[in-house]
């Protein structure tokens, strides 16, 4: 088998592949239209369900003192304003036995006495119910703690004022209560300048983009499985293999076609993920849409395309030698799981800051380069971005070459099936 490939034949076959794809309505719906719609729907459903089923907080005031009453009123008012459903119940047992109640706040007996004394501390008890909405309960607890901190601050201010009057001195309450204070943090960019909003959001968007690579590897393998094993199963391969197209051109065209389709699918998934996150961000009163970086999106598309080629090339030797789509999918899932593991790691680990020895070991895996390219962009290390992209390109070409080199017409055609 010669090294050279006939580009015009690849283009002809690629045309055929893409024409088939664009005519396959089911494929277009499932790969392009459904992912963003499904993810937006999931986001909306999450929001709607959260609105429909607010967290229920039970307030139990066991103390009849005026300070306890004031606190109870303040908690009920602030928590209701924050969207929680507040139930004022008589006793703890009743609240604990009611599974609809997520959080219980108890103002115990003696609260007023303790809160107004000079030598005792008043306590409030909180009970949190275990369950799947743990994060929401944590948010509710923080809200309760916020109200308690504000109320505690009011009482301490009164006490300090009273002490000052008794001592006949003039004081600044904050200077007594909180003599050391942290100013609001100032974000600085990687260049040390004050950061803009987009500088703050960019790492998050980059992490999102890295995570979105995990949506790419599986469809890429699926397309190439359908392209090669499917072509064999549909009995359309043998005439092609016997034509001047050749195995190498056949595989290269299939790889490029699967990469283009995979990229379209990936961008569609990314759009869906973006809209999903935006929906949820809107729910918590934040915004993301205003910080899209076209350079980052372009880099993501380029790296995605190369990542798909690398994934396909890694899967090809196994896929092309399996008998059916099911066994090919099982084999390919091993490769795609490797990709998924890396991209999930990329969501939480800053590869850019890993020790150099670890980084060198990881550089053998193509997925490292796609993660590093995106992370380096965030750090404005454009030399590394270019280097990672270039290495990924070279790796992809080498992998395609190696995978086609070990395949011949007979292996691709017959796999392990023999007809005599």
């Amino acid at each position: 088998m010669s090294i050279a490939v006939n580009t015009s034949r690849i283009i002809v076959f690629l045309w055929k592949e893409l024409r088939e794809y664009t005519r396959d309505k089911k494929a277009i719906i499932s790969t392009v239209i459904l992912p963003p719609l499904a993810l937006i729907a999931i986001g909306l459903v999450t929001v709607l369900l959260a609105i429909q089923k607010p967290l229920v907080i039970s307030l139990i005031n066991e103390d009849r003192g005026d300070v306890a009453l004031q606190l109870s009123t303040m908690l009920a008012s602030e928590l209701t304003k924050a969207g929680y459903k507040v139930l004022e119940l008589g006793n703890l047992t009743e609240a604990r036995l009611n599974p609809q109640i997520d959080l219980i706040v108890i103002i115990p007996q003696g609260f007023t006495d303790n809160a107004t004394s000079w030598d005792r501390v008043a306590h409030v008890r909180i009970y949190k119910r275990t369950g799947i909405s743990g994060e929401q309960i944590d948010m509710a607890e923080n809200r309760v703690r916020g109200v308690l901190a504000a109320f505690s601050s009011l009482i301490s201010a009164q006490k300090i004022s009273e002490l000052a009057k008794m001592a006949n001195i003039t004081i600044n309450i904050d200077a007594v209560r909180n003599p050391i204070q942290v100013e609001v943090p100032v974000y600085v960019s990687v260049h040390g300048e004050p950061a803009k909003v987009e500088d703050v959001w960019r790492p998050f968007i980059a992490r999102l983009l890295i995570l979105s690579f995990s949506f790419i590897v599986t469809p890429a393998a699926t397309y190439v499985i359908d392209g090669i094993v499917g072509e064999r199963e549909r009995k359309t391969m043998e005439m092609l293999i016997a034509s001047p197209l050749g195995v190498r051109e056949f595989i290269v065209a299939k790889t490029i076609a699967a990469s283009i389709v995979g990229l379209i699918s990936a961008l569609s998934d990314l759009l869906g993920l973006y809209l999903y996150t935006t929906t949820l961000a809107y729910m918590i009163g934040s915004f993301i849409l205003g910080v899209i970086d076209p350079g980052l999106i372009f880099l993501h598309a380029t790296v995605s395309f190369l990542t798909i080629i690398a994934t396909i090339s890694l899967s090809l030797p196994f896929i092309s030698r399996t008998r059916g789509i099911k066994s090919a999918s099982s084999v390919a899932s091993i490769i795609t799981t490797l990709g998924l593991a890396f991209y999930i790691a990329g969501w939480v680990v800053d590869f850019y800051k890993l020790p150099i020895t670890t980084r060198i070991a990881l550089l053998l895996v193509p997925y490292t380069h796609s993660i590093m390219a995106i992370q380096a962009y965030v750090y404005s290390d454009y030399t590394l971005v270019a280097l990672c992209t270039l290495v990924l390109l070279i790796l992809s070409i080498l992998l395609v070459y190696a995978s086609t080199k070990i395949l011949d017409r007979e292996k691709v055609l017959l796999a392990q099936t023999y007809y005599t």
């Binding site: 055929k16 088939e20 043998e238 034509s243 007809y419 005599t420």
Partner: protein, 248 residues
């Protein structure tokens, strides 16, 4: 039988093993220009493997195969201009029209628009060529596939069960296309079939293949006379019976 320059396809002691399965056990074959050579044998006798080896897509384990003096497997590119190969269970692309199939293969082979028109004529699909292949009957698909093979006028056509699974009308149409093609071009055709009537109608010479060996060879008439049979089917059964009693 042939002068050296007359041989277009030759196989000499060809073996093919797939692991422990032996598909061909020393097949020797010589086919001259303009011949229509029929390969007849039961399922699993090695017809498909032999045609695949002649087409250059499967490598023989041992033996020598030549197409116009070239090794079809090692000199794959060189032999493409001579060989047209129709696999037994070949299929069309559902989402492409007949015309698009013709154009695709014309471009792969680097053919002109005339070849596409010739392919359209061979397919006899007329206006239906504009429809997606998913709407074609089995017979229409087979005619289209045969047209894809013959549109570039190959000097050697290797046809594996070209009428398999077709009804009488579709089979007749395919047979007539093959015969017309050979008359027009003088091409060599090697065709495998289970249908003895088809073989008698089409072939100038027949090879009876059984368990990976060509057990007898000759014109349909010669084989019938040689085995004292009333038709080719009977001659085939007798030839296999004689071979089995002699070697097993």
């Amino acid at each position: 039988m042939f002068l050296l320059g007359d041989i277009t396809v030759s196989a000499e002691s060809v073996y093919k093993e797939y692991g422990s399965i032996v598909a061909l056990r020393g097949v020797t074959l010589k086919v001259g220009p303009g011949e229509i050579y029929g390969l007849v044998g039961p399922n699993g006798s090695g017809k498909t493997t032999l045609l695949r080896i002649l087409a250059g897509i499967v490598k023989p384990t041992r033996g020598v195969v030549k197409i116009y003096g070239y090794d079809p497997y090692r000199e794959f590119e060189e032999t493409r201009k001579y060989i047209g190969y129709l696999p037994e269970d070949a299929n069309t692309y559902d989402l492409l029209s007949g015309y698009e199939h013709l154009k695709l293969y014309a471009k792969i082979y680097g053919l002109s628009r005339d070849a596409v028109e010739y392919g359209a004529e061979l397919s006899q699909l007329g206006e239906r060529l504009r429809d997606h292949a998913s709407t074609y009957s089995r017979g229409m698909k087979r005619r289209l596939l045969l047209a894809l093979v013959l549109m570039r006028r190959p000097m050697i056509a290797l046809l594996d069960e070209p009428t398999s699974g077709l009804d009488v009308y579709a089979s007749v149409a395919v047979r007539n296309t093959i015969r017309k093609y050979t008359q027009e071009t003088g091409a060599t055709v090697i065709v495998s079939s289970h249908n003895m009537l088809e073989i008698e109608y089409l072939c100038t010479r027949v090879g009876l293949i059984y368990k990976g060996v060509i057990v007898d060879e000759g014109s349909p008439r010669e084989l019938v006379v040689k085995h004292g049979a009333s038709n080719l089917e009977e001659a085939f059964v007798k030839a296999i019976g004689e071979y089995s009693s002699e070697y097993q």
